[in-house]
């Protein structure tokens, strides 16, 4: 069964203050959405942890993507005639953050944006495991959703989680294993109320388990009635831990 390691974990929540997004040049940063700056913030943390961010394949999981920019376009459609803002329109796609990052850091390899609602964490891990099967050694996995703009509901805070995943764990890496659907999965871990409605909330629980070096099994998505199971993953402590 699949086993891989986690070398670095990074979390951005509103408690950290506005993301500095130092990977993005100032002129570019000013035009970027909060989502893109959140992604840049945790990617900088992964770089500081030793990940070669311009080379490693990048997987960005996001439920609603550039939803604030999208809402701004919908508002513009209502109040103005004619074509929409070209900067906003080009910046409204789900892969805006990885595109902006690629420009800033010179990433010319594989990168992708995936979306699966509350299953986004589990499905982004599917994407990462697929890359490992393709002999990729390091994957930058980022899960991020910005707050929903009014009147969209439910209101929630922004959250970005970055993970440097490694195909072959060293003795100091936390190990994630046996990823897959389980019948009678454990309940979803509780998360702070401010991010409970965020599609990527389960990634916060994953990050906490890794940071606190908790062994055990974690549910990665709500129990899915249609499939009568939920994707889960086991945590194993580092061999040296």
């Amino acid at each position: 069964m699949t086993a891989f390691g986690v070398r670095t974990v990074a979390v951005w929540t509103a408690e950290r203050g506005a993301p500095r997004a130092e990977l993005l040049p100032a002129q570019q940063r000013r035009r970027c959405s909060l989502l893109t700056r959140m992604v840049a913030e945790v990617m900088a943390d992964l770089r500081d942890g030793g990940l070669a961010i311009a080379e490693a394949p990048l997987v960005c999981g996001t439920g609603f993507g550039e939803i604030a920019t999208t809402a701004a376009l919908l508002e513009q459609m209502h109040v103005e005639a004619g074509g929409l803002s070209p900067i906003r329109f080009a910046g409204s796609v789900h892969n805006t953050a990885i595109g902006q990052l690629a420009i800033a850091i010179g990433h010319r390899g594989r990168s992708t944006a995936v979306s699966a609602g509350v299953h986004t964490l589990a499905m982004a891990l599917v994407e990462a495991i697929g890359l490992f099967a393709d002999e990729v050694d390091d994957v930058a996995l980022v899960l991020a959703d910005e707050p929903l703009p009014a009147p969209l509901q439910p209101a929630h805070d922004g959250l970005a989680v970055g993970l440097h995943l490694v195909r072959v764990p060293t003795p100091t890496d936390m190990v994630l294993a046996d990823f897959g659907p389980r019948r009678e999965p454990p309940p979803l871990a509780r998360v702070p109320a401010a991010i409970a409605g965020n599609p990527c909330a389960a990634a916060w629980s994953l990050a906490q388990s890794i940071r606190e070096r908790r062994a055990g099994t974690l549910a990665l998505e709500p129990d899915e009635p249609a499939r009568r199971s939920a994707m889960c993953i086991d945590f194993r402590l580092p061999a040296s831990g």
Partner: protein, 387 residues
């Protein structure tokens, strides 16, 4: 990473409401471009699906234009998907769907009603009507697949990259079969968005033509069933992916990222460029895109393979374009012909490509489809003839 079998496929777009109707229109050289199916102030033509019935009553809560296209588009491979579920187990059949618009068309309507009434519409559900994942859940309901299911959303390369994700999912032994494809729906956001970029043409788009002046937007769905083993009509050999790292909405002028994706597909598939007999080009009909893509193709292949541009038939289906054009390559391998590149004649001089301006017989074991997108996202999908 080895090839996987393409055991069934389905196409729905402005050319027709089933696969044979689409292929027949391609063969006859008949465009599907015409008037938009809703009022818009953008002076352009589009590729609209003529008739879209509502979802069945059990799925009425999910009913959007996007969902209807997905439901209708996958219908022809439901039986094959259910056969795959019996063969491999339903939880071993995954879903990877490319979309760029998702349900934004429905959100447009909700936003307008909110502005008019001051109340957010009670019948609008963000998860079921707007979210990308809604398209996956509708296809899941249609096919009974219970494996991992998600959307790849990288704008206009979405459903080409979905083939890469699907192939890896099988190779990683997470599943044995994947329903892979793309779905996108016409809406005013995309028409007015591309108009704001000054990229829409007022007439049917003319990719590679000397006087091309922009794109025509389209909608549609394309689905394929990939299986680890089986009697395939064709094989998914390899996908090459790259990023321009150049500009959010303009291609690298020399086609550097496009070339890298094409070369990666050939390298990963272990296939020499000379063995690729035809290329379905991304070819949107804009000055910059077609020129950059021509440089990339010419640098790798010279003028040897037949190049065909098909957006003059369907319009640019954005997130559904990649999968549609991969399957047009499958049609070429199966039936031994490629359609005329509608609107390409007279071709811009100096592109250095062998562009098919009429329906052309071909004999080849390999075909390539290219897709390029906002964010500098590039994908090249290499397919091979069935055994």
């Amino acid at each position: 990473m080895g090839p996987v079998e393409i055991t069934a496929y389905a196409l729905v777009n402005a050319l027709g409401d089933d696969t044979e109707a689409v292929i027949s229109a391609l063969e006859r050289g008949q465009t599907g471009l015409g008037r938009a199916p809703f009022p818009t102030e953008v002076p352009t033509v589009v590729g609209a699906i003529a008739r879209l019935d509502p979802l069945p009553a059990t799925l009425a809560d999910w009913d959007t234009r996007q969902a209807r296209i997905a439901w209708h588009g996958v219908a022809e491979i439901v039986e094959a998907s259910q056969r795959a579920a019996r063969r491999w187990g339903a939880s071993r059949v995954g879903l990877v769907i490319g979309t760029s618009t998702g349900g934004i068309g429905a959100t447009e309507g909700a936003w307008a009603r909110w502005k008019q009434s001051g109340e957010w519409p009670a019948d609008f559900d963000l998860q079921r009507h707007h979210a990308m994942q809604a398209t996956v859940e509708v296809v899941r309901a249609a096919t009974g697949a219970r494996g991992p299911g998600y959307v790849v959303s990288t704008a206009c390369s979405s459903s080409a990259k979905a083939f890469a994700s699907a192939q890896r999912m099988i190779h990683a032994d997470l599943v044995d079969a994947v329903i892979v494809g793309g779905v996108d729906s016409l809406c005013d956001t995309t028409l007015r968005g591309f108009a704001g970029l000054e990229l829409t043409s007022t007439r049917a788009c003319r990719p590679f033509a000397a006087d091309r002046d922009g794109i025509s937007i389209g909608e549609g769905a394309a689905f394929a069933l990939l299986e680890r083993r089986g009697q395939g009509v064709a094989r998914l050999v390899a996908v090459g992916e790259s990023c321009d790292a150049y500009h959010l909405s303009a291609p690298h002028p020399e086609g550097a990222g496009a070339r890298a994706a094409i070369e990666a597909a050939l390298r990963r598939g272990g296939i020499e460029a000379a063995r690729v007999g035809t290329i379905n080009a991304h070819a949107t009909g804009t000055k910059l895109n077609d020129a950059a893509e021509a440089k990339a193709i010419a640098a790798v292949f010279g003028d040897a393979p037949w190049v065909v541009a098909t957006k003059g038939y369907t319009g640019h289906m954005l997130g559904a374009a990649g999968a549609t054009e991969v399957l047009f390559c499958v049609v070429a391998l199966e039936r031994g012909w490629i359609p005329a590149s509608l609107g390409a004649d007279p071709i811009e001089p100096g592109l250095g490509l062998r562009i098919a301006t009429m329906r052309t017989s071909i004999e080849t074991d390999y075909a390539l489809s290219t897709s390029f997108a906002f964010g500098g996202s590039n994908a090249a999908v290499l397919v091979g003839a069935g055994a």
